[in-house]
Symmetry: C2
Subunit: 341 residues, 2 copies
């Protein structure tokens, strides 16, 4: 063992082949465990020179009844909905929340964690920034035994609970819908390829194509950087194609809405010339003309569930072992894909 290294419950758990929550319960002398199990664990903890993390302990004992929340951006309707769900559920359980925004920057995400931890929040709910490609700050939180859960933008290797959407399923639903209303050439307009949701939604798109016996056509996948300029460039490129798609699924609603605005200005009829669908169910989707077919992502529910699970862990109602909660999405068909034959 390297010098100065502080042994964690995780390491004891690994050594004994039991769960972290079992270790935790043994060290708390929980009556739920068999005395022999407890004895073994306590001995191993002594042998490995385990010292309970004092900061984590003091946090657990003198609770501030405050949760920290970190989201990539608050101006996004989706994350704002998550926050509403988090707040409503936290309030119900007697907690207040403090929210920080990473603005999609890794550096700010790290600073946010420091700020919230030094404010002595009892636990954290984190959705990762677009830039986050290394995870030392999260492993450090984990090693300091500060409880947290990841939601929506998660990283699979971090051993904490995660709440996500079935992105594959949602993209499958909307692509299948476009094929069912009669589209023969369905395009996927993706965000940056390394984004988690870009990949997952592509997976769902390809799954639906394959189920309908449609071969993947690389010319029918376009990438936007999700800026207005990027979206407009894609909208124009599509109109210039020799063999245009007759149905387009955009990865998120804001892209679909900007594409729609451009096409309308060019006299393209939606859905007669090209059917169009998005994903998220932003407020704009329902009020554009024609109203946009989309996939409902219940952000409010996600926020509520994430808080419930985190507080259940904090209160010892749920096990400390990480779980994965996956929320289903719902297709909302609207006029932008209502093709009459």
């Amino acid at each position: 063992m390297k010098k100065g290294h502080q042994v964690t419950m995780k390491e004891i758990a690994k050594k004994l082949g039991v769960s972290v929550s079992t270790i935790s319960r043994a060290l708390k002398d929980s009556p739920e465990l068999h005395p022999e199990t407890k004895r073994k664990i306590v001995e191993m903890a002594k042998e490995m020179n385990y010292q309970p993390n004092l900061l984590a302990q003091s946090l657990r004992i003198s609770r501030t009844k405050t949760l920290g929340v970190i989201v990539p951006e608050i101006t996004s309707h989706f994350f704002a909905s998550c926050i509403s769900g988090i707040q409503d559920q936290a309030t119900t359980r007697g907690y207040n929340i403090m929210i920080c925004q990473s603005n999609e920057h890794l550096e700010l995400e790290i600073a946010n964690i420091k700020t919230l931890v030094s404010s002595q929040v009892d636990a954290l709910l984190i959705s990762l920034s677009r830039e986050t490609n290394h995870y030392e700050h999260l492993f450090e939180l984990y090693n300091r035994e500060i409880p947290f859960v990841l939601f929506d933008r998660v990283q699979e290797d971090i051993p904490v609970s995660k709440v996500t959407f079935n992105d594959v399923g949602g993209a499958y639903q909307v692509t299948k819908h476009l094929l069912e209303v009669g589209c023969k050439r369905v395009m996927y307009v993706s965000g940056p390829e390394d984004l988690y949701i870009s990949k997952k939604r592509k997976e769902g798109y390809l799954k639906a194509l394959s189920e309908f016996g449609v071969a993947e056509d690389p010319s029918l996948i376009k990438i936007t950087d999700l800026t207005t300029e990027g979206n407009m460039a894609v909208a124009k490129e599509i109109l210039q194609m020799d063999n245009r798609p007759d149905g387009v699924f955009c990865m998120i609603d804001p892209v679909a809405v900007e594409v729609m605005m451009h096409w309308k200005s060019q006299g393209i009829r939606i859905p007669q010339d090209i059917a169009l669908a998005g994903f998220t169910n932003n407020p704009a989707a329902a009020v554009v003309e024609p109203p946009l077919t989309t996939v409902l992502q219940p952000g409010y529910e996600m926020g509520k569930l994430a808080v419930s699970h985190l507080l259940d862990q904090l209160d010892g109602i749920a096990s400390d072992d990480p779980i994965s909660i996956v929320l289903e999405t719902t297709l909302i068909p609207r006029k932008s894909t209502e093709i009459s034959h």
Copy 2:
């Protein structure tokens, strides 16, 4: 003086007829003040048994470089824009921010203040909840000498700096525009009458009418509680009027968008049958059909200005004396009021 009462700088300032910032500078022995002025102030402070607030002092000395922000609701695009401006400017000046949401409840607003103050934020930016009708919690902050500014939803009697919009001016602009495009019967659809913006925007509406020699007609002012149900009820009522308005100005964009959706479903042509305008410039306003005439309220700029001024006060660059910063709004004419004659 009542027992246990802690004398504030404000009281010394009142007694001597000078500003709070003069007192503050004198007690910090600032070289900017005349020695005689300083002597008088220091003597009065001693006589009144002034004891500098230790908490406030320690906050000022050991800064956390964190600002607390309280907004009524994060899901509002407008407040989300304010937060973006606050964050960008705070980051530029080396501060992080923690955000709390009151959900329009006074009780939660008070809890938010407690949470942020015990997290030792250096200062606060607060926009009041719809419910806030007494202000002890804000006067307490002031008396504890914890710096804060109010923005958008402000209360005039609290002696701190305020950043607001020229609501009267914006409502005047949009009403004048409706009259100029030829509307004869212009209606104002207001939110709850006790809301600050309801009053201010009515003032601007009436100012434009009076300037155009149009008499105020009580049947041309309708009230909605700003819920979807309330907005729909108003949309229906207007269509049932014997003498319908030919131009309608809704206090905020979401009301105008919901009214538009209902009218379109009833075959009403906008602007030919009734011209329609909103206020705020929400993203939906630009993408509905016809695009909605509105008034741009630069929330991002408001946030930046509020932080700049607060940090200038904190750093002693700006005087501690409260000022009022008023931002102008800009009319954005779109097709929903484009009447061709």
